[in-house]
């Protein structure tokens, strides 16, 4: 019987395999950031251990960093300590660090691909659940906890129960690909399979609806695999993948011979079997807006906020969850999504802060001003994205529309830095999580695509971007 892409990558990384026990898997790339690593480095010190493969490890600071003027000192002392701790740890253990002043600094899941560090067929880990992003390149990319960060630093391996392969086929063609985006595809998937629909699995996204997407759009899809509960998400590499990585700063010297080998090996066999399947038809899907407190609580922009009964399909636990979500979000069932007024707009995060995202959003706002009661910001995913956008003049389009144009980082996706919502503020956000308090205690988050966020900024409420000319 044939094998899935995931199984092929898995099998080529087995170091130790035993019956009724997890498998020891080799890790090709380890990405490190300031929040989930200090305790891991401490563990190494306490046990007199070294980093086994500093040459397979890179670090940057992204979660905590201010997105305001980088020449000013960091006011938050605890953030400052965490950032300095990462600098010291990288120096002590010989790890390459893209520090806060580096032109390569940025969200770790944005810079990995941009620098050519992310490669097809590799295993990649990071102490961050959105590591799944790198799966867009046909890598097995896993988010891990701090104990596993320490384990990988020490041994370049980790013990893992083998997840099950899950096929999600995305069929059809979007009528307006500028208005209905990769974000709307992945939110539609999560709306259908639920936030635990992928638990224990590695999703392989397949079909015309996926191969049609650019690499940056594929990253948006794989990024949110974790929001469906999956261990990872991946997409088989193709010419778009190979073209994207060619000639980047850290692309390997023997790249073309690697490409030849990837073309031959990195695909799911025709007779391979998945343990779970789901098909999404995208010909008629609408832009999506989340209304609740997890990414599964999402509906079409043309819908109204559902009632807990409609949402829960008879499951009393889900019903109570929906009631609580509506209460937290201060929303009433039956309210049309387009009537929901917003206070803030955040265009950023490892989900949607790449160059294409900013280009698409800029088309919506060009020559316009944001609504007078809205505060809006753009936080590019990396300093390189920021620079490229500025070379195209996108910064001016955003600034002229009264957006704030910031330095790169995770920013208001999780609000570990000063970029947070105040209690009761409602935000159209291009990030990945609408959990209670995620963007600031008492803040209300609606997940949307970059074009939907930009349109909401202009109008002060959600609007259907399919009615705009975005070509």
């Amino acid at each position: 019987m044939g094998k899935t892409l995931f199984e092929k990558i898995w099998e080529s990384h087995i170091v130790v395999e035993k019956q009724n026990s997890p498998t020891l898997i080799y890790i090709d790339r380890h990405l490190v950031h300031e929040v989930t690593s200090p305790q891991a480095f401490d563990g190494l010190r306490q046990n007199n251990r070294k980093v086994r493969r500093p040459d397979l490890t890179i670090a940057t600071m992204d979660h905590n960093v201010p997105t305001t003027d980088r020449t000013l000192p960091i006011l938050d002392q605890t953030s400052s300590v965490q950032i300095k701790t990462l600098e010291k740890n990288c120096k002590d253990f010989g790890i390459k660090l893209f520090d806060i002043d580096s032109p390569n600094q940025g969200i770790v899941h944005v810079i990995g691909p941009q620098l050519g560090i992310t490669l097809p067929g590799t295993t990649i880990v990071c102490g961050d659940s959105h590591t799944s992003t790198h799966g867009a390149f046909g890598a097995l990319a896993l988010g891990i906890g701090t104990s596993d960060v320490e384990h990988v630093l020490a041994s370049q391996t980790m013990w893992l129960e083998k997840p099950k392969p899950f096929e999600i086929r995305v069929e059809g063609k979007r009528k307006n690909p500028h208005a209905v985006t990769a974000k709307d595809i992945i939110l539609s998937i999560i709306k259908n399979i639920g936030t635990s629909g992928g638990t224990g699995t590695v999703i392989e996204y397949r079909g015309e609806g996926i191969t049609d997407l650019s690499m940056e759009q594929r990253m948006t899809i794989c990024n949110m695999s974790i929001e469906a509960g999956a261990r990872a998400g991946l997409i088989a590499p193709d010419e778009k993948t190979f073209d994207y990585l060619r000639g980047r700063e850290y692309t390997p010297k023997n790249y073309e011979s690697l490409v030849d080998s990837w073309k031959e090996h990195l695909k799911t066999d025709n007779d391979a079997k998945f343990e779970k399947e789901f098909v999404l038809h995208i010909d008629d899907i609408a832009p999506q807006v989340s209304w609740g407190t997890n990414p599964g609580m999402t509906c079409d922009v043309t819908d109204s906020v559902p009632s807990p009964d409609e949402f829960s399909n008879g499951d009393p636990n889900q019903k109570r969850g929906a009631e609580k979500a509506l209460d937290y979000m201060n929303l009433k069932s039956g309210t049309p999504i387009e009537d929901i007024k917003i206070d803030r707009v955040f265009i950023g995060s490892c989900t949607n802060a790449r160059l294409e995202d900013l280009i698409e959003a800029s088309k919506v706002i060009k020559g316009q001003k944001i609504s007078s009661h809205v505060k809006a910001m753009v936080v590019p995913g990396s300093q390189m994205v920021k620079k490229q956008a500025e070379e195209m003049g996108l910064d001016k389009i955003f600034i002229n529309a009264n957006f704030e144009w910031r330095e790169s980082g995770c920013s208001m996706c999780l609000g570990m830095n000063p970029d947070i919502l105040s209690p009761g503020e409602r935000c159209a956000s291009t990030s990945n999580r609408n959990f209670e308090g995620r963007q600031g205690t008492g803040g209300q988050t609606h997940l949307v695509s970059p074009v939907m966020a930009a349109a909401a900024a202009i109008h002060g409420h959600f609007v259907d971007v399919r009615e705009m000319d975005l070509s």
Binding site: V35, K96, S129, G145, R231, F435, T441
Partner: protein, 194 residues
């Protein structure tokens, strides 16, 4: 890591589904660089109001559940962020057993690295435990939960069970396979980053 002993305690019922790690330990408390001291921030936004007064309707503020070591919750517990701080907070607060119908993968794996036992049980049994007011016993060795009226067996991976019972450090275990790792590296064709 300390070895996992038999736990005898009342149950704290947290009757919610999809409890995410942002709720277990909100982001403003992730800036500490050590593993201790997170317990006071556990479920912070559910425990305290904006003036940091205790919210009387939240279960952890009910004095009946003080000193409980067993948390029982709904489906998909620990979803979202990979932050291990969530497990450190639960453990530091005093919970060493979490029972739920299902767990998110990364959280589940993080538990075992810290001596916390996550038990997956059938929805109906979890619902019964949510109502349990008596002292219960969790016996990992025999994979059994004893309530005043019932005995419930549970499944656990034999490797994970051994790790918990013996309090093993899995990095030391892995180092026993040092020759295998070296062997793998010799045949690997994946280039270094630098």
């Amino acid at each position: 890591m300390e070895s996992f002993k038999k736990i005898t305690s009342i149950v704290t019922p947290l009757d919610k589904v999809n409890v995410d790690t942002d709720q277990i330990i909100p982001k403003q408390f992730l800036k500490l660089v050590q593993k201790s001291g997170f317990g006071k921030f556990l479920f912070f936004n559910w425990r305290y109001d904006e003036q940091e007064n205790k919210k009387s309707d939240f279960v952890l503020n009910n004095p009946n559940y003080e000193n409980s070591q067993i948390l029982v919750a709904g489906d998909n517990f620990g979803c979202g962020s990979s932050r291990e701080h969530a497990v450190w907070a639960l453990l530091d607060y005093g919970f060493s057993v979490i029972v739920a119908p299902s767990f998110a993968d990364i959280f589940f794996s993080n538990c075992f690295k810290n001596g916390v036992l996550p038990i997956t049980l059938d929805q109906k049994l979890v619902e019964k435990l949510l109502q349990e007011t008596g002292v219960i016993e969790v016996d990992l060795e025999n994979q059994m939960i004893k309530t005043p009226s019932d005995e419930i067996s549970f499944e656990i991976d034999s490797y994970q069970k051994k790790i918990l019972l013996e309090g093993l450090d899995d990095i030391s275990l892995t180092f026993q396979y040092g020759d295998k790792i070296l062997e793998f590296e010799k045949q690997s064709t994946v280039p270094s980053v630098l």
